[in-house]
């Protein structure tokens, strides 16, 4: 069984600290990294991929440091970057054949694999389209297909669901669920609903620190009895936002229904609610203050 291990990873850009002492062990399963913009998700993925060096610490694949593994480590990984234009003038099919060769897949096997993955990501009918003519969601699926060509044991997806419509997002989730057998899948997102029923572990990254790493239910349990819903007058909103961490805000007739996070009952009329993954995200990444 494969194992990926991060040992106290630090990363600084000049004086700015982007990652702060991250240590984790990954076994086959789906891990999702939740974090606000700039929290260091992409940086961490790049370090795991050996694209950039950590300032301190090291990454181990099956017990060996990845810098020493080189080619044999690259054999084992598939990567879908956050923004990749690909070669816009190539046709989807040619592009995948090209990438397959760069990954060192033998010719006879390659054709079959490309066709298989084209069907899996539902692009078979568009295989002779130029990449520049594809929609954002379709490009994303080209990205997934190219990552899967070498049957990677470690699949890394950086914000794969950004720009997908809800239907595509559901398709994507079932695709990932199918792929997750015997593979380590890491993916970053800032869409909390992506996690529902898909992820085995949630990793919450906040300003480069690993705040949580647990199964979704357990992470949610830690939020239990901290989620409240309260109806207030519009004028009171400013006061509430100053005092508490505020999540979703809805209009209800003349009043406003606010979801807020606090360790004890904030107002007499507040009602306790079950935490959701969306609450989880807002709890960690909303601007408001709470102690």
């Amino acid at each position: 069984m494969n194992e990926l291990c991060l040992k106290s990873i630090y990363k600084n850009y000049k004086t700015k600290q982007v990652l702060d002492n991250i240590s984790m062990i990954f076994k086959p399963g789906v891990y999702s990294f939740l974090g606000a913009n700039g929290s260091g998700k992409t940086t961490l993925m790049r370090i795991i991929l050996n694209l950039i060096k950590p300032t301190k610490g090291a990454v181990y694949w099956n017990g060996q440091p990845i810098e020493l593994l080189g080619e044999s480590y690259r054999d084992a990984i598939g990567y879908v970057p956050q923004h990749v234009p690909f070669y816009p003038n190539m046709k989807v099919y040619d592009f995948l054949m090209y990438i397959g060769t760069l990954k060192g897949i033998a010719n006879h096997a390659l054709k079959e694999k490309v066709e298989y993955w084209l069907k899996q990501v539902n692009l078979y009918d568009d295989r002779y389209q130029k990449i520049k003519n594809l929609s954002g969601g379709m490009k994303q699926r080209v990205g997934i297909a190219q990552a899967m060509l070498n049957d990677p044991q470690l699949l890394i997806l950086d914000e794969p669901t950004a720009g997908l419509d809800p239907k595509e997002r559901i398709r994507f989730r079932s695709l990932i669920a199918n792929l997750s057998v015997n593979r380590i899948i890491l993916y970053t997102t800032h869409i909390a609903s992506d996690l529902e029923g898909l992820t085995d572990y949630v990793c919450i990254l906040n300003n480069g620190c690993l705040e949580q790493l647990d199964e979704p239910e357990n992470v949610l349990k830690k939020l239990a009895k901290q989620v409240w819903e309260v109806d207030i007058l519009p004028e009171e909103l400013i006061y509430i936002e100053e005092q508490y961490k505020v999540g979703a805000i809805e209009k209800h007739g003349g009043r406003i229904r606010v979801r807020l996070y606090h360790h004890k009952k904030p107002l007499p009329q507040a009602v306790m609610k079950e935490p959701t993954l969306e609450d989880l995200y807002l709890y960690y990444f909303s601007e408001g203050q709470s102690t």
Binding site: L51, R74, P85, Y98, T101, G104
Partner: protein, 254 residues
């Protein structure tokens, strides 16, 4: 060979136990265990790994994705050069080579830096045959294309003496490199995908007109001493390497 049944197994186990009692083995420390694991890793056979494709195959694959515009440009240069070589005097031919080769060099070189131009570096680094090898393969193709485009002109124009050939080569290389460096610097600092074609085209046209108008300058340059040519050539080569290095740095993620 006797089959290894349960009975045998228990016997072996007993033997081992007895021997362990007789010859106690010290428990190795953590470091030693780590080292042994690492060492065994290096002994595992690499048979099941995917093989590197051969250079020839890489060249062939890379050729299929080489920009058709670049290839057609090289062939246009070749055709025009050949036509000039047959038609015109030696002096004219030198001029033609003068004008055409920078274009050819730069167009070919920018093809080598395709990875950066399209922002594919992040992905290509994760592939089995990394960006370094890819660059070499592309460079080979680029040089090949450049050679095909410019070299035949020299022969068609009827230079048979070696001295002539050397002079011509130097005379042709230096201005070409000068322009190439300039254009490379421009395309390094302009992050537009198609900067290469759009910027190089008009610039090259301007230069050509300048050269044709300044006939005397050209003659002066050609008649200079060969050592001067050589010195300038080495100097330019260094700068060119520097620029290419900068290019590589610019495509890094840090």
């Amino acid at each position: 060979m006797t089959s290894f049944n349960d009975e045998n197994m228990t016997k072996v186990k007993k033997d081992v136990e007895v021997n362990l009692d007789t010859f106690p083995v010290p428990t190795p420390n953590e470091k030693r265990i780590e080292e042994t694991i690492q060492f065994i890793g290096t002994l595992l056979d690499k048979e099941d790994q995917v093989k590197q494709p051969s250079l020839l195959k890489k060249l062939r694959v890379e050729w299929t994705v080489t920009n058709r515009l670049v290839i057609s440009l090289q062939f246009l240069i070749l055709l025009f050069g050949l036509w000039m070589g047959i038609q015109a005097s030696i002096e004219m031919t030198i001029q033609v080579i003068f004008l055409l080769s920078p274009l050819s060099i730069v167009v070919c070189l920018t093809e080598c830096f395709k990875t950066k131009t399209f922002g594919m570096n992040e992905l290509e680094w994760t592939f089995k045959y990394g960006t370094g090898q890819l660059f070499i393969v592309r460079l080979l193709i680029a040089l090949g294309l450049h050679f095909i485009a410019v070299a035949p002109i020299v022969f068609v124009s009827g230079f048979l003496s070696i001295k002539h050939l050397v002079t011509l080569l130097i005379v042709w290389l230096i201005p070409a490199m000068l322009v190439a460096i300039f254009l490379l610097i421009i395309s390094l600092y302009t992050p537009i995908h198609w900067n290469n074609v759009y910027i190089i085209g008009p610039f090259w046209l301007l230069l050509s007109i300048l050269l044709i108008v300044q006939q005397n300058l050209l003659r002066l340059w050609i008649e200079m001493d060969i050592t001067i040519h050589l010195c300038v050539f080495v100097f330019l080569l260094t700068i060119m390497m520097k620029v290419i290095w900068k290019y590589k740095e610019a495509s890094s993620l840090e």
